[in-house]
Amino acid sequence: MLKLIQDTLISQVVTLWTVFRHLFVKTDTVEYPDEQPYMFPRWRGRIILSRDPDGEERCVACNLCAVACPVDCIALQKAEKDDGRWYPEFFRINFSRCIMCGFCEEACPTHAIQLTPDFEMAEYKRQDMVWEKQDLLIDGTGKYHDYNFYRVAGMSIKDKDKGEALNEAKPIDVRSLMP
């Protein structure tokens, strides 16, 4: 009998009291347009193309991001400068398809493509959600301030191959199993 009362009556009263106490608990709601939520720095939002510390664009048009993209929203075309360096002739992201998965950022060998905490990208026309290179390219370095791909990887110039200069290590042969 006591068990029955415990299970039926008391438990209901405890439930009611527990819920009632939530009247004095701070609400979890963030009133968004009036009040901005805190966006974490590594939030996966709007995609940008960054520049290296020297101000050159980082993208080398390797197409890895476009391959990694599960919804195929990235399109780019390789072009070559006089010194043989690659760069994207155009770079187009269709944000109406993008799912903000961040695979492109993971695939990028030069930290060129990065995701930012900005999420307010609504548009009235679908075509306005297709961003071209001039829309994507920023002036800064994004999340990696000191990284310059060619300072790490080395570069072959006239009469000097990769790794032949002073204080330079030989490049690793990625096709070999030897240490």
């Binding site: 439930t15 009632f20 609400t27 709601t29 009133e31």
Partner: protein
């Protein structure tokens, strides 16, 4: 035009207040539920979201009021009118304050119970005339639930009637000047509270309109203002049950003298309305057969024992 029982001004005042309060409850309920679930609730329209009611009204009045071609027109239109009418009629015998009320009836308690029983016709007709399986299921459940909970809703009140020696709600209040009946009739109060929730089919006993099982139950096919009348009728029933609990068990308008009597009535009634909303926020819905067996096998014997003990004590003390 004076403020006395039964004058035209009083009737208009009570009618306006009751319907206004029932409409405001749409906002109150959503706001309170929000707070109890760590949300904010509607707070966009006007100060604190107070004009949410106005927005809801505009919406419901401008919606298409559609009668399905397969429905039985006459009873389909009649059903929502019945629930509004009977519940508003019940307010006629409720004494709000010493000089505030519509009728000073000798059969107040019986009148309220009779009107509550007629309310069952509304949901039954609504479900039957809709010609929709969910509506039919809902009205079946509603009929069974309301008829069975009516039984001990009445019996639980007999203790109060025996103590005060009157069926007149005003005299029941007057008899509680020294002690509220919630103390000697605590069991009766609890049974009446539970039966009241079932009678106004509020959560957790909203089995006739259980959204998750049978979409909206008996008002599945209703739209526009006809649905609005069911909706407001439910809130009116909530106000009515809260007022009745205040009158029968919590001394009606009695309270410390620094506030006028009608304020004490309003405060007590609102406390019960808030409690009913808390019930909705906290307690899950029982199964249909659980509800029926709980009523017939537990509450009915309990209310009979309560009546028996009350009668014995009254006889013994004479």
């Amino acid at each position: 035009m004076t403020l006395e029982i039964g004058s035209a001004l009083t009737i208009g005042l009570i009618l306006g207040t009751v319907i206004g309060v029932a409409a405001m409850l749409i906002w109150v309920e959503r706001r309170l539920l929000g707070f109890w679930q760590d949300r904010l609730g509607p707070n966009r329209v006007g100060p604190f979201g107070l004009f949410q009611v106005v927005a809801d009204m505009i919406k419901i009045f401008t919606k298409e009021d559609w009668t399905p071609p397969f429905a039985d027109k006459f009873s389909f239109v009649l059903a929502p009118a019945i629930i509004m009418t009977v519940i508003l009629l019940s307010f006629a015998v409720v004494p709000f304050a010493p000089n505030l009320g519509i009728v000073d009836s000798n059969i107040g308690v019986l009148f309220v119970l009779a009107m509550a029983s007629l309310g069952a016709y509304s949901v039954m007709l609504g479900g039957l005339s809709s010609d929709n399986k969910y509506a039919l299921l809902g009205s079946l459940r509603a009929a069974a639930q309301m008829v069975s909970y009516e039984v001990f809703m009445g019996i639980s009140l007999l203790g109060v009637v025996a103590l005060s020696g009157s069926f007149n709600l005003r005299e029941i209040v007057l008899a509680q000047e020294d002690m509220w009946y919630v103390l000697p009739q605590f069991v009766g109060f609890v049974i009446f509270l539970i039966a009241g929730v079932a009678e106004s089919h509020r959560l957790p006993f909203d089995i006739p309109e259980a959204e998750q099982e049978i979409c909206a139950g008996y008002h599945t096919e209703y739209s526009g203002m006809k649905f609005g009348m069911f909706f407001v009728g439910e809130y009116l029933g909530l106000v009515l049950i809260s007022s009745l609990i205040t009158v029968l068990f919590f001394g009606g308008w009695y309270g410390p003298a620094f506030l006028p009597p009608v304020f004490w009535f309003a405060i007590k009634a609102f406390a019960f309305i808030a409690f009913f909303i808390l019930l909705r926020a906290a307690i899950p819905r029982p199964r249909y057969d659980q509800l029926m067996s709980y009523g017939w096998l537990f509450l009915l014997p309990l209310s009979l024992i309560n009546l028996l003990v009350t009668g014995a004590i009254i006889l013994n003390s004479q």
